[in-house]
Symmetry: C2
Subunit: 472 residues, 2 copies
Amino acid sequence: MGLAAPSLSVLNAKEIEQIKDASMDILQHTGVKMDYASARDVLRARGAKVEGEIVFFPPRLVQEAVMSAPRGFRLYARNPAKNVSIGDGNPVFVPGYGAPFITSVDGAKRKAVYEDFVQLVRLAGASSNMDITGGVLVEPNDIPEKHRHQQMLYACLANSDKPFMGSATGAEHARDSLAMAATLFEDDGDRPSQPVMITLINSLSPLMYDARMAGALMEYAAAGQPLIIASLGMAGSTMPATLASVLSVQNAEVLAGITLAQVVREGTPVVYGSASSITEMRYGSLSIGAPEGAWIIAAAAQIAHSYGLPCRAGGSLTDSKLPDAQAASESMMNMLTAGLAGVDVILHAAGILESYVSMSLEKFVLDDEACSAVKRILRGGDVNKDTLAVGLIHDIGPGGEFLSAEHTYGHFRSEFWQSPLAERGSYDQWRLEGTRTALVRAQIRLQQILESYQAPPLPKKVEKRLRESAAR
Amino acid sequence: MGLAAPSLSVLNAKEIEQIKDASMDILQHTGVKMDYASARDVLRARGAKVEGEIVFFPPRLVQEAVMSAPRGFRLYARNPAKNVSIGDGNPVFVPGYGAPFITSVDGAKRKAVYEDFVQLVRLAGASSNMDITGGVLVEPNDIPEKHRHQQMLYACLANSDKPFMGSATGAEHARDSLAMAATLFEDDGDRPSQPVMITLINSLSPLMYDARMAGALMEYAAAGQPLIIASLGMAGSTMPATLASVLSVQNAEVLAGITLAQVVREGTPVVYGSASSITEMRYGSLSIGAPEGAWIIAAAAQIAHSYGLPCRAGGSLTDSKLPDAQAASESMMNMLTAGLAGVDVILHAAGILESYVSMSLEKFVLDDEACSAVKRILRGGDVNKDTLAVGLIHDIGPGGEFLSAEHTYGHFRSEFWQSPLAERGSYDQWRLEGTRTALVRAQIRLQQILESYQAPPLPKKVEKRLRESAAR
């Protein structure tokens, strides 16, 4: 780690305050619709005004909630070497989430099935960049919805020893997830004894939470399990067209969820989630590859950090329908912005395509490499007497060479990033090897990873109990 | 322009001082080899110690030179609407420079010819993102070297009305370029009366300037024409493997060139140029798509700005051999880093491939779009009462929609970037239209641009005189 972590700012202090003040105004006077009676009840008990399903948040309640949330926290993995620290200045990468389709390299698309899900879990498990296995890595459409959450969780727990995500589809599914996590860690009772999973809770823009999300939120908060509380507004349709307004409405939604989590249990670990972007006005559709979305990532990170909260934003986000140059460019734009902005959790870090609609296994491999490159940029270069090497430069002098210097051999392995995919060799050799594009190389690497990956074995008894939960 | 321009830092103030101190040590005690007697003479006359061809720079001479260089300046175009301001906080984009080859979309490569050069000039002229036409947009290998610089300049002046670059291949070619620029602007004498061109001067790493570069530098400085003075060190071969050292050796080289320019003529407009990256140790070759190179871009921008100098770094840099996903990802990584770091001049902004070895017209079109997206990120979003729209949010309320709001129609055109190339429509429509990748769309757009571009006409007399100069 360099002495100075990168720092990116796109808003000044006054602009941040204006946005936050607007959010407080919205929370207090416009309110947030909560389609879940228990949520309204606990908020009313803490002084919120409730009219029908709309909750009006007193500023002090929101401020107290923000204060009670930790600046960072740890997720415990079944393999302690894979514990994850969130909020320590290093980004945590999590694969794509929630897509119903799978796209092949030629752009053909089909409904995803359980086998795709398992392959994605194995890719996440094999990656040295993905820190969390993921949650809904893709929708397994061949599994009945009733059991889907348990089957997905089973695949995650059986095929990877990294921390994972819980089901966000209502209180009951949350309890099922908590119970399976307790089984994995062989904890007594129906919930894990430590933070081991993180769950993605989304508001419905503008300014609503449905019963499923609010229900899951309350269950996980009560169990002390961390939450990402995120807003995905579309400037120009579900939010105003101006980016400043998107930031303040998004902020209001996220603060409402955070307040609910803290009211349920003070100190619940929460991550401030920003996923808002713009509406492509020609089609009325969400665009996640838009540069406005990248700017929102950087701005939201500043707002989250100004509250002392870790932030989730960004990812390898693209509107492209296949892993082409548009996908690569948009994905890097969003990923690098998130990295430089100090985003703490980068969901959708690998595989996502077509504005969250589809996943590509080959793009997963390409994005994984991009995550690694961004990590290298963030690490930077140490500045000290040894790395400045003024004496060496003096000894070698004008016109000399450093290739054979001992200093070079002592440093280049740690200083230079190793890329498994990037082509940097001679043109002639590349032609001889068949003029392979990055996508072709990714296809080859994908097969190698899937063939060689060994799932870290579970204790037999745990494996059996998890399998039973999943088949229930 | 948003109220707050993005600001990225990767070095802290102490690290910047350490690097600058190391550079001063190198300049004073190791020295810079100048293979050009006139350069050594003018520096000796100002107090530099000279031993053989090596010039040792007293710190005060360097500091005075840095102080005498302007923070920013203007380049005058033959079309005043296309004047360019350098150092005002907005990046100036310039196409790829110096590649000897042209690559087609399938990765086939051939020597570039004059017709390629003209096509690239026309692309630069047509682009709404390229601010300067360019210089050696590609090497026209079918033109004898002796006349190449004049033929290239003629193509630039006849096909585009933007500012341009001068020849850097020695004093004589510089004088030829100055004379043609004077002809273009119908100035008396053999040089233009205002700053109208900018020329790329490169050191030879480590710590040398050859006669051609030093000679051109001195001619342009004497004529008051702006210079980019750049270093392209390769960590691990022409410079040490540690990034801190690369920054300090590069800084020493650039400061040596800037000092020479200021000694020739105080106040010469100069741009601090950083092009250093790493050596791919498997092949001993330059890698410009490496993440270490992106970090160097951001760090160099901080160092240049700490001297109060405009900076040149970055570009759509890639090692890939064709415009594939690697090219798109690496290009965006370097372009976005340069944009966020506040780099003032972004050379190689479009078209470059294969570590500066080749150009792709299709990649030019793709990169041009990426430049436009980066500009949109930099513009950000204004924060004020109108853009925050708290009243509107209150009126529409939880669960409402903003698509039909007057506020949306009043803002979305200016707030949302329009992309000519990005695919954001429906999947089915995209399949119906032939499953076009971004590269295929770029090919189509390339043809449209080349077919529709109208070169801005020159006065007949000027055109004739320029043509005569080029044919001399």
